[in-house]
Amino acid sequence: MRSAFQKLKSGLKKTHESVVGRIADVFSGRTKLDDELLEDLEEILIESDLGVDATMQLLDDLRDRASEIGEVDIGALQEVLQNEIKQLLSNGSHAVQPESQDGPQVIMVVGVNGSGKTTSIGKLAHQFKSKGKSVLIAAADTFRAAAMEQLENWADRANVDIIVNRKAKDPASVAYDAAAAAISRDVDVLIVDTAGRLHTQGNLMDELQKIHRVLGKQIENAPHEVLLVLDATTGQNAIMQARHFQKVVEIDGIILAKLDGTAKGGVVVAINRELDMPVKYIGVGEGIDDLQLFDPEQFAEALFY
């Protein structure tokens, strides 16, 4: 299996020439942190989807550091910048740890339409399964066409059990049944898929809350993890998504899917400036193994690659 960084790098193969050693290019031959250099850095950060505010803050800080250090060591400044980004992303724990607790650990997966929820669940189920855990997944997307068939397909691939109810109209009822089944089958992990919904759709956000509540009725403190799946190609709207989903269900972490393309997913930096929402996993492909633990250092490096 290739490392995440290799994947990220190979993702950049096509646009190789234009970005190879971008940061090196930018810094090389420069001796002072002048406006020109700042503008080049600004371009890199903005084009990684960090957004205007996060970019300005990072560059402001960089300038402060530069004047602190006095003599400008460009190499050191590059490190400063990378470290700062890394630090912004280093909050919280990372992997979802199946806790040794009484009863199943419940994970609920949420996000906007098409971000990669169902696929990530397939991958996640596979990871737990490979670690010897018993896993049950629940098809609580009763809305999207063939959402259940899609998840069934993943259940097959990951070789885990699934709760589906083709007649169900109410996703909360599926969640309820799934929680009951998880208890009676005494599984280690229950993962609940939900329909994609835009954070602006009030009634659908209420529905999400209901699913959340129903899970907690049967299993203490469930769901134990709520994961927000973000599409790495998403721009500044991801901040809105994070904020609104956070309001409705407490988000424990982010899965940043589709990071195998050329998008950098830098908006998670902006999100972490504002919300305590650690990135836990990254999705790097459509295969069952294409889910990796998030590594802030690698991520920060890849931004400038």
Binding site: V112, N153, G235, N237
Partner: protein, 440 residues
């Protein structure tokens, strides 16, 4: 009032007011804020830069028209350029030659292709065509099921086979169309990354074989800076003919559209605004331009404002703000003036910065305003002028009098404080996080 409600842009406009000609300096100041708006709307960095540069060139030296201010003029020039770039007029689907016509639908994973295929099929059918949807995605789990379910929802025929070769599927679909007199084939292809050469070659092969009339690139309206990369690669492989912008029913500003349009030159043909099979709209450049700018239609706003708010009281108000004497009574008066101007939500959309506040959860329906008015009405004159004296028991009295809760009173007072703070900052002309000397 508008300077107060809005954020930086209006502030800049204020400074620009009353000069005869657009100079390099005042244009630059104005455009700096616009640049920020574009970047926040996810317009690609380079695209924004080029766009701003071209607008700057056009704007400098322009005589300021009599009826409007220089600031308004800059925004007007910018707005017009944006509309221009997005495509002046509607670009229709072009199905030429002899049937069956082929429309190929392509794009990144999860962008909304399968959903769009069905919506388009429905629209064409409603216009008298006889479309056949083709399940040409052999990769995504249950992709064919999804298309079949979608098709049956709207009573459209769907062609699927057990084949796993996309070219075979397409060939067979064409035969079926000929035999059964379907006149448009809409191909639902699998999502793929633009850097996946093998998968991109597959699309080129389909194009070669099927000779489509239209190849539509489906782009998620929430896409960020990377839109340019994906779009230009897809263009390179397929020379697609048009763009579909999806998921625009949310609060994404849709700057990706500008990026895509400007790097590919291809027209945006449709906008998808929901999951239901009816939520497909033709594309209106003017509306999207307003949305991307996020500043609303400044020109029409200010025009409307000028009609309604008389100069004298505006001047008085400005003085008060400068002296930090703005009171709740003034606030109420301003609210009334806004209300006189027309339907509130419509107006709010036109106020620069309002889009952002909305996204941050600020409620803008008229009832909020009525509530605020009711609260202020229940205050004594002294309380309106010196909100500082409104203690707990006064709050309870006001709440009772206005049929609201103490929480509402607290909130209003807090918002009013924030507003005053903002005004003070504006008076000082402070702008956040700026790199001095950075060229636009």
């Amino acid at each position: 009032m508008f300077e107060q409600l809005s954020e930086n842009l209006e502030n800049v406009l204020k400074k620009l007011r009353g000069r005869g000609k657009l100079t390099e300096k005042n244009v630059s100041d104005g455009l700096r804020e616009v640049r920020r708006a574009l970047l926040e709307a996810d317009v690609n960095y380079k695209v924004a830069k080029e766009f701003i540069a071209s607008v700057k060139e056009k704007a400098i030296g322009q005589e300021v028209l009599k009826s409007i201010t220089p600031g308004q003029q800059i925004v007007k020039v910018l707005h017009d350029e944006l509309v221009d770039l997005l495509g002046l007029e509607r670009s229709e689907l072009e199905l030429k030659g002899s049937p069956p016509h082929v429309i190929m639908v392509v794009g990144l994973q999860g962008s909304g292709k399968t959903t769009f295929v069905t919506k388009l099929g429905k629209q064409l059918r409603d216009k008298g065509r006889s479309p056949l949807l083709v399940g040409a995605d052999v990769y995504r789990p249950a992709a064919k099921d999804q298309l079949k379910t979608n098709g049956s929802k709207v009573d459209l025929p769907v062609f699927v086979t057990e084949h796993n070769r996309v070219l075979d599927i397409c060939a067979e679909a064409k035969q079926t169309a000929r035999k059964n007199h379907y006149d448009v084939l809409i191909l639902d292809t699998a999502g793929r990354l633009h850097i996946d050469e093998e998968m991109m070659d597959e699309l080129s092969d389909v194009k070669q074989q099927m000779q489509p009339d239209e190849i539509l690139f489906v782009a998620d309206g929430m896409t960020g800076q990377d839109a340019v990369n994906a779009a230009s690669e897809f263009l390179g492989y397929l020379d697609f003919t048009g763009v579909v912008l999806t998921k625009m029913d949310g609060d994404a500003r849709g700057g990706a559209a500008l990026s895509i349009r400007s790097v590919t030159g291809r027209p945006i043909k449709y906008m998808s605004v929901g999951e239901s099979m009816d939520s497909l709209e033709p594309f209106y450049p003017d509306r999207l331009a307003n949305r991307i700018l996020g500043m609303g239609d400044v020109v029409s706003l200010v025009e409307k404002a000028q009609e309604t708010i008389d100069e004298e009281s505006a001047k008085k108000l400005n003085k008060k703000i400068q002296r930090n004497e703005f009171t709740l009574a003034d606030f109420k008066e301003q609210l009334q003036q806004i209300k006189n101007m027309g339907p509130l939500d419509q107006l709010m959309d036109m106020i620069p910065g309002m889009g952002k506040m909305k996204r941050q959860g600020l409620s803008v329906d008229g009832s909020e305003f009525d509530k605020i008015e009711a609260i202020i009405n229940s205050m004594t004159k002294e309380e309106r002028n010196k909100p500082g004296i409104i203690n707990g028991s006064r709050r309870r009295r006001i709440a009772r009098g206005s049929g609201t809760s103490v929480g509402d009173i607290n909130q209003l007072l807090k918002q009013f404080q924030q507003m005053k703070k903002m005004m003070q900052q504006m008076n000082k002309g402070k702008m956040k996080h700026q790199i001095p000397g950075l060229p636009i």
